[in-house]
């Protein structure tokens, strides 16, 4: 699971109203995709355990089921928190005891997805007639790659207009251009597109995350265009469950979804023959939407053997993963001939020389700092280099680590540190939007609340220094769970007070008797 992409989608989903969720969850394919894609591992196990349970699962039983060590408990809290945020799980009172219950709509649809029952037709209706002009999988791959790279070219091309050979390929539709502008990836200045900081973030992500980022912008846009967001979302999730190389019928799509086909084919997510509009083919970009497989397959030779990567990929991109070798002396060798990858590299390196299948470059202070001035962060650069590191570098880091199960650093640590230091020279502040909580109550209450926030993974900083010293403030990134916690605390305190009063009262009666 590429966590950035799913986080992005999660954030979007979360702010939807509950009614939208209920509508979404009527589609089994949507349920399956959300289940598979958005949930942490433990949450999946919990959902499946609860799926066929007739009555709510008592919270106390869940607490017993989870091992008592800190890691397990915090993993459990995080799983429950995400499940609640996606309105999949809710806490209900069952015979006076609190219990966990799955959302009706969700559990019904997930059961249908698992058993294949019902007549919802949400896994796509294949075309039962033979296509007059059948397309092959390799054609679909090429189509998807060309479309998607045209988009990336457009974004990256707005940063550097000097690297030749790109002007002819940058033909993306005006709709997509507008989408990229509205998404804040490029900004128009003097009728000339300029890349923005989020545009860089977009570029340096892996491809699956890029698609999701773009699709979420598309979703936000679609509301303004009078499209039904539920239809859009469920169609996207349906696309993720389709099979590559099979054509699907357009007949039972809703009007919104029919409108989407054109846009999606601009992105390269589906392919539609301009002549025959009754059918569409999902490309690999679509079928991997809800999985972790690489969206654009690299040439197999690239991932296995390093020296023979010449002829196959001279025209197309040099593969999705693993082409960069970084040395401790800041030299960088990239086995690629794709102008797109080269221009991405040129954002933060100074290129030295270019061979038919190899580009050499060097990371310098100037190159990194100019990238940082453009709005790229050091973390982005490092993560880009890490995800695209050559298999040999991975093998080396594993060999160095030996039997130890945790893999060692893939990039040379000195270079990673230096990139960070170069950034720190310029800026010394990180800002995080969030909430400051103060006046919690007694020092114990404060410690407890901080511990809870930490377990949820929302704690950014606690200003207290233990033993009631320091300021009793802490800072969290999310508030909804915390406010629930404080409400529960207040309720418990009130209950306790009432009980105490009742006990006092009872004592009085006894004395009288």
């Amino acid at each position: 699971m590429s966590s950035t992409a799913s986080l992005r989608a999660l954030d979007y989903l979360e702010q939807l109203p509950t009614t939208t969720f209920n509508k979404l969850y009527t589609q089994p394919s949507t349920c399956l995709a959300i289940f598979r894609r958005m949930l942490p591992h433990l949450a999946k196990t919990l959902v499946l355990s609860l799926l066929y349970m007739p009555s709510p699962f008592p919270t106390t039983s869940l607490d017993i089921w989870v091992k008592p060590d800190a890691d397990s408990v915090s993993a459990n809290d995080r799983a429950l928190s995400i499940l609640q945020r996606l309105r999949i799980l809710s806490e209900v009172q069952d015979a006076g005891r609190p219990g966990w219950k799955l959302s009706e709509a969700f559990s019904h649809s997930l059961k249908q997805a698992l058993t294949g029952g019902g007549n919802h037709r949400s896994f796509g209706v294949p075309c039962n007639t033979v296509d007059a002009t059948p397309v092959t999988i390799s054609y679909l791959d090429t189509f998807a790659r060309n479309q998607w790279e045209a988009i990336l070219y457009y974004v990256v091309g707005s940063a550097h207009t000097g690297l030749g050979g790109r002007n002819d390929t940058a033909a993306i539709s005006p709709g997509t251009q507008r989408l990229l502008q509205n998404g804040g990836f490029v900004a128009l200045r003097n009728r000339q597109a300029h890349i923005t900081q989020s545009g860089f973030t977009f570029l340096l992500q892996e491809i699956n995350a890029q698609i999701w980022t773009l699709l979420i912008v598309y979703l936000e846009e679609s509301v303004g265009l009078g499209m039904e967001p539920v239809d859009v979302l469920s169609f996207l999730f349906t696309l993720g469950s389709l099979e590559l190389g099979i054509s699907y019928s357009t007949t039972n799509l809703t009007p919104t979804q029919a409108r989407m086909l054109e846009d999606l084919s601009d992105f390269g997510i589906i392919y539609q023959n301009p002549v025959d509009t009754t059918r569409y083919y999902p490309t690999r970009l679509a079928t991997t939407l809800t999985s972790d497989a690489p969206a654009l397959p690299s040439d197999s030779s690239l991932t296995t053997v390093t020296t023979t990567t010449t002829a196959h990929n001279s025209s197309a991109a040099g593969g999705e993963k693993g082409y960069i070798i970084l040395e401790t002396n800041y030299r960088l060798y990239a086995y690629t001939s794709s102008p797109l990858l080269i221009s991405i590299l040129s954002l933060f390196t100074s290129l030295r020389s270019r061979y038919p299948n190899l580009v050499t470059a060097k990371l310098t202070k100037t190159s990194i700092q100019s990238a940082i001035q453009l709005g790229i962060t050091s973390d982005q650069i490092i993560s880009y280099l890490t995800t695209h590191a050559h298999p040999l570098m991975r093998a080396q880091s594993q060999a160095a680590q030996g039997s130890n199960s945790t893999s060692g650093p893939i990039l040379p640590p000195t270079v990673v540190d230096q990139i960070r230091l170069w950034q720190l020279e310029g800026e010394r502040m990180i800002s995080t939007p969030g909430f400051l909580i103060k006046d919690v109550g007694s020092p114990e209450d404060f410690e407890k609340a901080v511990a809870y926030a930490e377990a949820l993974g929302v704690l950014k900083k606690s200003f207290g220094q233990g033993d009631g010293k320091g300021r009793q403030w802490f800072f969290v990134t999310r508030m909804d769970q915390m406010s629930g916690y404080f409400k529960a605390q207040a309720g418990r305190r009130k209950e306790e007070r009432e009980r105490r009063e009742r006990e006092l009262g009872g004592g009085g009666v006894k004395r009288e008797g």
Binding site: L32, F35, H41, L42, L51, L114, P126, S383, P409
Partner: protein, 384 residues
């Protein structure tokens, strides 16, 4: 400056768990299923099992499943199907000419079904594929089982199935240099699981689930134990779902390899799916967090002797090779390693002080009287 601290330097650990491989060994012993017929027919178990398999596949895109049938006298892959016997199932059944026709039509129906799956818009295609293949090959297996082939043996080939499962796991989990032919999903060459960080996935992510219905595996004690030790060495947990019969070895298997052992009672078999979902679905990652069922329960550690394959409480152990025998050996030679084992004074009646005779009349009388009173008393007590 803390941001440049070396602790942050190593690669951010991917929180996504690596894919897992679930190998199910289904005991298809016809004798045992005919006994179970009324409480839990095979078809019902299969329905539950298919939902369970789908749930496993739903957890992760890269999760894999394999099903091995442990039949009488042979063990066979039900899913994925070996490439050779798949296209023409008749070739394997040449011996049974009278059934050739039946199988032929079955196979044709199967082919049609496979085409149909892609037309079904209500089912996720990978699920449909597994289901069709599994049912089809199980049908094949059942139709090739004749009374003649059943006459020879009544026991099930758990040991063979375990071995098949182990070969499949090692084939799938080792970083394969095999020419992977992923486009053909019917191909038997198992597609290697997504390599995590450039390496094949360790066998630690594989597990075996044995759905066992027949008892008495004592005649396969040695091969079963050998397979189990291999599992233990590879850190493959062997989970046991015991639906009928009673074998001590399978419980030992779960205990030895860190698996889960569940034997639902007859009344509980109605909720079989819930057992599967809660007890057996959590994989290695989730089992680190959750408490596994049956932890800390007593395990029957009895072994079977090597000479008559009886389950013994107390036996004789060769001091050289640790073979177990239920009775002293006739020619004083270990059957396994051939060591001369002299038991000089075994069999001689030990000199025991003769038992003091108890006062029979009084003691026996009271016990009898007690019993006599107690039994009717309790019998009276229960209805009230």
């Amino acid at each position: 400056m803390n941001a440049v601290d070396g602790t942050d330097r190593s690669e951010r650990k991917d929180d996504a768990p690596s894919p897992s491989l679930l190998t199910i060994i289904l005991d298809t012993n016809p004798f045992a299923w005919s006994l179970l017929g009324t409480t839990l027919p095979l078809s019902k178990l299969l329905a539950n099992l298919l939902v369970f398999i789908n749930a496993h596949l739903a957890i992760g895109h890269a999760n894999r499943v394999a099903v091995v049938a442990s039949h009488t006298g042979r063990a066979e892959f039900l899913y994925p199907v070996p490439a050779l016997s798949k296209p023409t199932s008749t070739t394997t059944t040449n011996g049974y000419s009278e059934e050739n026709h039946d199988i032929d039509t079955d196979a044709d129906e199967g082919e049609e079904d496979i085409i149909h799956t892609s037309d079904d818009a209500n089912k996720y295609r990978p699920f449909a594929h597994v289901e069709k293949t599994l049912l089809h090959s199980l049908q094949d297996l059942i139709s090739t089982t004749t009374a003649k082939s059943l006459a020879n043996t009544t026991s099930t080939m758990i040991a063979g199935a375990l071995t098949l499962a182990l070969t499949h796991i090692s084939k799938t989990t080792t970083p394969a240099s095999l020419p992977s032919n992923t486009t053909d999903s019917n191909n038997f060459t198992p597609t290697p699981l997504e390599p995590t960080e450039g390496r094949g996935l360790g066998a630690a992510n594989a597990r075996i689930l044995v759905v066992s219905v027949s008892g008495d595996l004592a005649n396969q004690y040695i091969p079963i134990m050998n397979a189990l030790f291999a599992c233990q060495r590879l850190h493959i947990p062997v989970d046991i779902l015991k639906l009928a019969g009673d074998t001590v070895f399978l419980q030992q298997a779960a205990d030895l390899t860190g698996g889960v052992y569940i034997a639902p009672s007859d009344a509980q078999k109605g909720g079989l799916l819930q057992y599967l979902m809660m007890g057996f679905l959590p994989d290695a990652v989730a089992r680190n967090i959750l408490v596994s069922p049956g932890e800390g329960e007593g395990v029957d550690f009895r072994a079977a002797c090597f000479c008559h394959l009886r389950v013994v409480d107390i036996g004789f152990v060769c001091s050289i090779c640790l073979s177990i025998f239920c009775e002293p050996l006739q020619d004083e030679m270990c059957l396994t390693c051939g060591t001369q084992l002299k038991m000089a004074n075994y069999g001689i009646e030990p000199v025991v002080v003769p038992r003091r005779k108890k006062k029979r009349r009084k003691l026996g009388g009271t016990i009898d009287a007690d019993r006599g009173e107690e039994t009717p008393g309790s019998a009276v007590g229960t209805p009230g």
